[in-house]
């Protein structure tokens, strides 16, 4: 059993002392008492807010940083992807950079020559490879970087958020490649903010908070634990804009919980008051997730083809059935716009929220649309 463990950390701690002046001393405890083991061929992910110590931890496993305390044991050849295209010289062509970056990744020149065609094919850069890298788009830059790095034949692959950039097509290709490597027996240590990726690929997930592991276990549990903590964030900083000729005074929530057993509609009532001389406007709301991705944005003009006749004081109610919406917490933005739907009178993001009850999120995306299958 013991021989199966390829990464083993015990009581690892690291403190930064940033240079803030000669006399002032500041310290940042980036990692505190980190202990965990990763077994061979495991897909192990780290999640947590920015600054929680994920990258520092990856650097320690990659042997780029040495911990102040604790022991780190890593068995096998490690390939750290903490950034792609590190050390690229923008003045040189893509081809020259393949050799430069390859040697930085520890390849011999002979090896690069032997895989050059494969790199080129994987990167899909074609003739662009003769162009200077400074003329590349970010996507092309990442493509070139990943294509070289992926040929490093690692036993342990360390990936830090590097797949977040680039186009969807190439991103999927990279993930497929990573999955292939996993099938070949490679151990993967992964960091991402994309909880979808984390849940789909990981065998185990650790949640970092201020340099400590606060939760470790199967992906669904840890991810939902993290999201439930994180979800408090958006409503703390409500974003409000608009001329306030119409002002939203009060938002009353009549029902903010939907379950597939009760099927009771989510319903809200909004009270407004008029400050300026407007008599018509558009009222609408939108449903978003905690990252302000809009799921739906209904407004009165779209649905009914008419405007709201605005009174000095008035109220508007709306209710809807979040059918097929995946279980989870959602946010509601509420807004009054002018008749052209261009300038906001009052627009409040994250004004309120509702929850859809149900089993843990297993379905990918926001909604489970009805599908007719034919097999």
């Amino acid at each position: 059993m013991k021989s199966n463990i390829v990464i083993s950390l015990k009581d690892v701690a690291l403190t930064y002392y940033p240079n803030v002046g000669f006399f002032k001393k500041k310290k940042i405890e980036a990692l505190k008492n980190i202990s965990f083991d990763v077994s061979k061929n495991e897909f192990f992910s780290l999640i947590g807010a920015n600054g929680s110590g994920k990258t520092t931890l990856l650097s320690i496993v990659s042997k780029i940083l040495k911990p102040d305390k604790g022991t780190v044991r890593v068995y096998g050849k490690v390939s750290p992807f903490l950034g792609l295209g590190i050390g690229f010289n923008p003045e040189l062509s893509g081809k020259e950079n393949i050799f430069l970056y390859g040697t930085i990744m520890g390849f011999s020149k002979k090896y690069i020559n032997s895989i050059y065609d494969k790199i080129l094919e994987f990167s899909e850069l074609g003739n662009y490879v003769d162009m200077k890298v400074k003329e590349y788009s970010t996507g092309m830059y990442i493509r070139l970087g990943f294509s070289v790095a992926i040929f490093s034949n690692p036993e342990i692959l360390i990936i830090d958020e590097v797949l977040a950039v680039g186009d969807i097509h190439f991103q999927r290709k990279c993930l497929e490649k990573v999955e292939n490597l996993k099938n070949e027996g490679v151990t993967i240590l992964f960091v991402s903010h994309d909880m979808g990726l984390i849940s789909r690929f990981s065998d185990r997930v650790a949640l970092l908070e201020n340099g400590e592991i606060v939760d470790i276990g199967n992906p669904e549990d840890v991810v939902s634990n993290y999201l439930s903590k994180k979800e408090n964030d958006p409503s703390k900083n409500i974003i409000r804009r608009g001329s306030r000729e119409i002002e939203i005074v009060e938002i009353l929530c009549e029902n903010n919980r939907y379950s597939s057993f009760e099927r009771k509609e989510i319903s809200f009532k909004v009270r407004y008051k008029k400050n300026g001389k407007v008599d018509k406007g558009i009222f609408g709301f939108s449903i978003t997730d905690q990252f302000s991705n809009v799921i739906s944005g209904p407004n009165i003009y779209d649905y009914e083809g008419r405007y709201v006749d605005l009174k000095d004081y008035g109220e508007i109610s709306f209710s809807f059935n979040p059918v097929n919406l995946n279980p989870g917490k959602y946010y509601i933005s509420i807004a009054f716009y002018d008749v052209h739907n261009r300038f906001p009178y009052d627009h409040i993001d994250f004004a309120s929220s509702f929850e859809v009850d149900g089993a843990k999120k297993t379905h990918l995306g926001f909604v489970k649309i009805p599908v007719k299958w034919k097999l």
């Binding site: 990659s62 780029i64 903490l82 003045e91 020259e96």
Partner: protein
């Protein structure tokens, strides 16, 4: 242990960026000393009537080495800082950075001295084979530069002030090196003090080989090798002690 392919690629990348984008490219290596020669000739042989045979050649022999010293050390100050991504995100032997900086400057200086020798042949109508000793000599000097560059690049990570301080020190050192005046003019009483300055020793050495066409005397030779070994040792020691702290401070 040391990745030779990486050193070669880093040097290639450095030299290509230096010369690829300019119109004249690699010819700048010729134009720079040529231009300097013409200016020195006009100023000292026509205007000031400085009485020394082949004075422009004398100056060129010293200034080329001096510029090697100044360019390398000033570039080394921000070396680790400039390459922080390379240090923080990839696993490489970090001493490769000062090493390839010195070698890439060494290559340029090598060509500059080849040009110097061509000038020498044209002016003196002779080619002393002893001039070829400049090759091992600038390699010894490179070891000294490697040591001092490593020290400077580490100090800079902790104290940014070292940059301003170094620039002042370099200006002072310039007058303490026999670049514009022959070493013989230094009063005998001060010679020992004068030779504490390592750069002065190397300048004297290279002038012996390339201008006076004789091998440097024993003291200069021993001192040149001594300074190279000492500075490489100090640099290596400081690097080993401070590497981890430096990486964390980047």
């Amino acid at each position: 242990m040391i990745n030779l392919d990486l050193i070669v690629e880093l040097i290639k990348s450095d030299l290509k960026t230096k010369y690829k984008n300019s119109l004249l490219g690699f010819f700048w290596i010729i134009f720079e000393p040529l231009f300097l020669m013409i200016i020195i000739y006009i100023v000292f042989n026509r205007f000031m009537r400085f009485n020394m045979k082949n004075y422009p050649l004398f100056i060129l022999a010293g200034t080329t080495l001096w510029r090697f010293f100044v360019n390398t050390t000033t570039q080394s100050l921000q070396l680790f800082h400039r390459n922080r991504e390379l240090i923080l995100k990839v696993k490489i032997e970090r001493l490769i950075l000062p090493l390839s900086l010195v070698i890439s400057n060494l290559i340029i200086v090598f060509f500059e001295y080849v040009i110097y020798i061509i000038f020498y042949i044209v002016i003196n109508k002779s080619f002393p084979f002893i001039s070829l000793f400049f090759i091992p000599y600038i390699i010894i000097f490179s070891f000294f530069l490697f040591g001092i560059s490593t020290i400077l690049s580490i100090i800079y990570v902790f104290f940014k002030d070292v940059k301003a301080g170094w620039e002042i020190l370099v200006q002072a050192l310039f007058f303490l090196c026999p670049v514009f005046y022959p070493f013989e003019l230094v009063p005998y009483n001060f010679i020992h003090l004068y030779l504490i300055n390592p750069v002065a020793v190397y300048v004297i050495g290279i002038q012996n080989i390339l201008f006076y066409s004789n091998l440097p005397d024993v003291t200069v030779t021993i001192n040149s090798i001594f300074f190279a070994i000492i500075f490489v040792l100090i640099g290596y020691l400081i690097f080993n002690i401070y590497e981890d702290r430096m990486v964390k401070s980047l």
